[in-house]
Each structure stands twice: as structure tokens, then as C-alpha cells.
Subunit: 221 residues, 2 copies
DNA sequence: ACGCCTCTATGACCCGCATCACAGAAGCAC
DNA sequence: GTGCTTCTGTGATGCGGGTCATAGAGGCGT
């Protein structure tokens, strides 16, 4: 029985029986583009895994601006944090395109953490990585937009490869800036031959140049 | 034998024998004001606990600006993260004033996590809290300075009470802004009677007003 | 006492980027 | 096809806050 979960990195260390158990308790659900999967502050009923589509984790600030903290692609679990500390969801999750999500009850996930130490250990390392990433992100927030955008693109290219299938608006929300500025910076980079841009996607042409931009401030293009 | 560690929240769930064990392996070290305890990227030899003084965790960015992510006061352990995933320190730690730090070897701490499940559970929750806090911080980074400063002050007041013994420069590094701007905003707040300010410290006079500022944008003072 | 240094404070300037306004282009519904 | 919507693109304007310059004030060492 080759269930979807068995192909997911995070669940590799579970025994087949344990995976089977989780699979039995989990439910698939389909979400239309723009639909909210859960909201920040809601009690966390389920740990979710993207099966198809794309899910964005976002924060909505009182000031009205919204910030996308993470883009989840097929195979990636999200919001395991509440499964550890039993607190509410820390972000909103929204289907960025039509998506299918596997929902594992938090309680079942939590049991599994307690039963299987190596699963716990793996999960911990994932969380640690996430903490490090967020900490880094919070510090780069005040760097100039160009650099933030470069970092965002490089980050996304780890998931999508050189062609990143996000609109300029979505990129803007990830880099915490506006659509206009994003477009302006990208057209700059396009003129310099560093990226190519088309409707709904951006491709990185010269990763090295982009990496340079992500670190140092360069005056010349 | 009432060792220092027994009075620390994080180690409450250890057995006296286990605390004794850790205490036996740990070493106290004194750091002068401004002295670096460890640097980002160094292998994490020790989990540290502040015994006296004040330790700042900071990030030094390529752009030259430095950001203080956390202020640790006596009784608080810091940088337990590397003890979980065995990766290098994620930040610099600097003694903000003359300080005494208890250093517990990472390996001993790690052993303890594996031996004592309830200790592990507690640590995890602390760690989850931190992740939530950092995630929140990373999102508020783009709010106007006034709000960031208000949040910073409120955050610090949880540790220090109404009087916060930090210089304007230190506040600035926490709110990710400059000394000048910090002083200007604070003098604003001072005129409005919300805070009082003196050399090396700032006291919150009207916490409620400050909380309002931390959330909404107010035009009138 | 004196010099030195850190901290606080205030004004002038300026630039990055958000905001607003507008418009063409591509896709989709019907 | 026509209309509607989303996405992309560009210019004008304005403001927040960083940067620079300058200076008084309080501490500390000697």
C-alpha cells in the first residue's frame, strides 16, 4: 500500500504501520484558489500536507498589509508547530491556486511524536531549520528592497527551480514590498539580463549575479 | 545543595540528581562589558545561562547594521537551539554589561534531553514560543518606527518591569532603527506623558497608551 | 581639578520606496 | 466577438526615517 504519506520526507522514519495508522485517520480536502484553509488563532485541529497545488502561509497585520511568510508546494507539511505545543495556528493558510491538502488530526500526529523518538528528532531538526530561517528573515527585513527580492527569488528557486510561477503581486508579498516596486526592480534586473519575466512567472537567468545582489549592495547593473 | 540551576524555570523538571550532574559539568565564566561570549557560526560547545548581568543576542549583517534580537537577563538560558540540532550558534552573544554566565556543555544538555522526556517537552514549548515570537517580530519589522519601539518597550517591560535599564542606542538596535530616531520618538512619547526617560533608562508611565500605539496608528498624541 | 568618552538631544538634508493615478496586455466568461 | 478582471508597467508626488553635523550633559579615570 503506497500511500501518499510514504513519499514525504518528514514521515520517512515512521514504520509502515505507523504511516498506515496516520493515513487511516487523515482526510483529503480540496480548496479552491483563494480559499482559506485555516486562520491564525484558530485551534489547530490538523497538521496539513500539500498534495497538489500551492499553499501560502500569511500574516495579516492590523495595519492592513499582508505578508506571505512561506510558500508550500506538494509534499511539504505545514504548521506542525501547534502539534508540538498544542497552541493555535500562528498564521493564516490560503490556497494560492486550486489545491488538495491532506489533513492529519493534530492528536494523532502528537501521539506519533511521542511513540517514535526518531520521528520526534527529525521533526525537531525541521523546526530548528525553520527557526533559523525565520530569524534570518527577520533581520534582512530592513535591507533594501532589491536585496530582499533577490533573496526571495533565490529562496523560491530552491522549490521551483529557475522558473518561479508566482505573480509579481505574490513576490511582493513575500519580499514585504508593493507590486509597483517589485515590478520596477524586476524590470531593472531584466534589463541587466539577470532575470526574465513574463505574466505569472519569473525565471532566473543568472543565479550568480542574483546571489551577489542578495548579499552585497551593487550600484552598477 | 541548592545550586543555581535549581532555581531556573527550564530545569525545574529535572531530577535533583540530573541537575547535580549538569551542575558538576558546567562552568561559570565572567565577561566584561562588551565582551563577546560566542559568535554566529561557531560550533556550539555550550548552552549558556545568565547568572548575573545582561547578555544581548545579536545579528551582524553584511550591510553593517547590527540588530539585537533578544535581551537575556539573570536566570534565562540562551541558545538551546544548537543543543537540539547540533548546528552552530545562530547569533552572536555579547555581554551588555559585566556579566557572569554558566556554561553547560552542549553534549550534556543533549543527553539530558534524551533521558528526560518531560524536560524535552518543556524545552520544546519554550522553543515553540520563541519561534512564534520571532515570526511575529519578522512581520512587524515593516511597521512604522513608533509602533516597533512601543512593542519593544512593552516586550522589555515583561523582563524589567516599568523601568527599562537600556540606553537609547540599545533600544534602537532592538527596534531596528537609529539612535536619533529612537530619541526623537521617545521625546515625543515623553511630551505626551507616556514614558519618562533618563540617562540609561526609560520608564513606561502609561502602559495602556503604549499598548494602543503598539497596535494602531495614532495621529494625535 | 581636568580631559575623555558615552549618552542624549536637535536641526538640516535627502533618498528609498509607498502611494496614487492611469493604461495597456493577457486571459476568461458568456 | 464584447466585457470584465487580473496582471503588468510607468510616471508623479510625498513622506518616513536614515544620515550627517553639532553640541550639551553626565560619568569615570587619573
Amino acid at each position: 500500500m503506497d500511500h501518499f504519506l510514504s513519499r514525504i520526507e518528514m514521515f520517512k522514519r515512521l514504520t509502515p504501520a505507523q504511516r498506515q495508522h496516520l493515513a487511516g485517520l487523515s482526510r483529503e480536502k480540496r480548496y479552491a484558489k483563494g480559499e482559506t484553509i485555516f486562520r491564525e488563532g484558530e485551534p489547530a485541529e490538523a497538521v496539513c500536507v500539500v498534495k497538489e497545488g500551492r499553499v501560502h502561509l500569511m500574516k495579516f497585520l492590523e495595519s492592513g498589509q499582508t505578508s506571505t511568510t512561506c510558500v508550500m508546494t506538494p509534499g511539504e507539511p505545514f504548521c506542525c508547530l501547534p502539534a508540538l505545543d498544542r497552541k493555535p495556528y500562528p498564521v493564516d493558510a490560503v490556497a494560492a491556486v486550486d489545491s488538495v491538502v491532506v489533513r492529519i488530526p493534530t492528536s494523532a500526529f502528537h501521539e506519533m511524536l511521542q511513540q517514535n523518538p526518531s520521528f520526534l528528532e527529525d521533526s525537531l531538526c525541521l523546526f530548528c531549520d525553520r527557526l533559523r530561517a525565520v530569524e534570518h528573515r527577520s533581520c534582512t527585513m530592513h535591507e533594501p528592497v532589491e536585496r530582499r527580492l533577490a533573496q526571495t527569488l533565490l529562496e523560491l528557486s530552491k522549490k521551483f527551480g529557475t522558473t518561479i510561477p508566482l505573480t509579481k503581486h505574490e513576490l511582493a508579498e513575500m519580499a514585504d514590498t508593493t507590486v509597483e516596486t517589485t515590478i520596477r526592480v524586476l524590470s531593472h534586473l531584466k534589463k541587466a539580463g539577470i532575470v526574465k519575466s513574463s505574466r505569472g512567472s519569473t525565471t532566473i537567468a543568472k543565479p550568480d549575479r542574483l546571489k551577489t545582489l542578495a548579499q552585497h549592495r551593487s550600484t552598477e547593473y
